[in-house]
């Protein structure tokens, strides 16, 4: 499944996956270079990258929300 066409532009599909996996493992230098080069020229993947970072930060800060007012309404 893994195809590394060195010198060829990675697709958004590959870069999206690398953006996500980069949050879970250390990417190889080749992977990082391919991703960064692509991010320079691709707004879609940059936006996706920003979204993923926001989700990661949100989870790190996640506190169980105060739903007491909503639960009162249910009663």
């Amino acid at each position: 499944m893994k195809k590394d066409f060195m010198g060829m532009q990675p697709t958004c599909k590959e870069v999206h996956r690398l953006v996500s996996e980069g949050l879970d493992r250390k990417l190889s230098i080749v992977e990082r270079v391919r991703m960064q080069m692509h991010l320079l020229v691709c707004a879609a993947c940059r936006h996706f990258d920003g979204q993923m970072l926001l989700i990661q930060r949100a989870m790190r800060h996640f506190e169980v929300p105060d739903n007491s007012d909503m639960e009162k309404k249910e009663k």
């Binding site: 697709t11 958004c12 599909k13 590959e14 999206h16 996956r17 996500s20 996996e21 949050l23 879970d24 493992r25 707004a43 879609a44 993947c45 936006h47 996706f48 920003g50 979204q51 993923m52 970072l53 926001l54 989700i55 990661q56 930060r57 949100a58 989870m59 790190r60 800060h61 996640f62 506190e63 169980v64 929300p65 105060d66 739903n67 007491s68 639960e71």
Partner: protein, 195 residues
């Protein structure tokens, strides 16, 4: 009312939400109730600990996090978890891309993360989105991003391959992204242009 009674009342008000969230990770209602009970008792025993450090909610959530980690480690030794394959999930990833590997739709810019994370309501939407994830996907994602286990640790606990874990986490992020985009960030007019 005494300070202790006020604290007790505040904690009781939080209990249902805490249990609901703990179930997402533990997948067992009575275990979730026990964990929350332990966390609330820990707070009541040392109420001075949180004073001035953080809000009560931050403090309770932090304690519950450690209680959940303990419970996970203890229970997984006794009962192994079934393998991690939520079926028919592949299309979640594939649906984003055209045949040539380009994105089908331009992902929206979500704006300043700090401004988003300051809003309490954002976390309510986030919780609803977490609850909508397939059960196993939610577990592994919360384990990774909230409990901050690394992938090796998750796989050791749950008996999955790391490659499988990365795909599951990727799917979880894509689903969450769609849910947040629709229910939170979608309130801006740009959402109308989405066909």
């Amino acid at each position: 009312m005494t300070i202790a009674a006020t604290l007790h009342q505040q904690l009781e008000a939080m209990r249902p939400a805490l249990v609901r969230f703990a179930i997402l990770q533990l997948r067992n209602e009575s275990l979730a109730e026990d964990v929350v009970q332990d966390a609330l008792i820990a707070v009541l025993e040392k109420p001075e600990r949180f004073a001035g450090l953080s809000t009560l909610r931050t403090y309770v959530t932090g304690i519950m996090k450690y209680k959940i980690i303990d419970a996970l480690r203890a229970s997984n030794r006794e009962r192994p978890i079934e393998t991690f394959d939520d079926q028919s999930e592949e299309d979640v990833i594939d649906a984003l891309f055209a045949a040539d590997g380009h994105t089908v739709a331009m992902p929206r810019q979500w704006g300043d993360p700090d401004a988003t994370l300051e809003q309490k309501d954002f976390f309510r939407v986030m919780e609803v989105c977490l609850e909508k994830l397939p059960a196993k996907t939610a577990r592994i994602f919360i384990m990774r991003e909230w409990l901050e286990f690394d992938t090796d640790e998750i796989c050791k606990e749950l008996g999955c391959s790391t490659a499988n874990a990365w795909v599951m986490l990727y799917r979880a992020r894509i689903r969450l992204r769609e849910c947040l985009d629709l229910n939170w960030f979608g309130n801006c007019p740009a959402a109308e242009s989405k066909s």
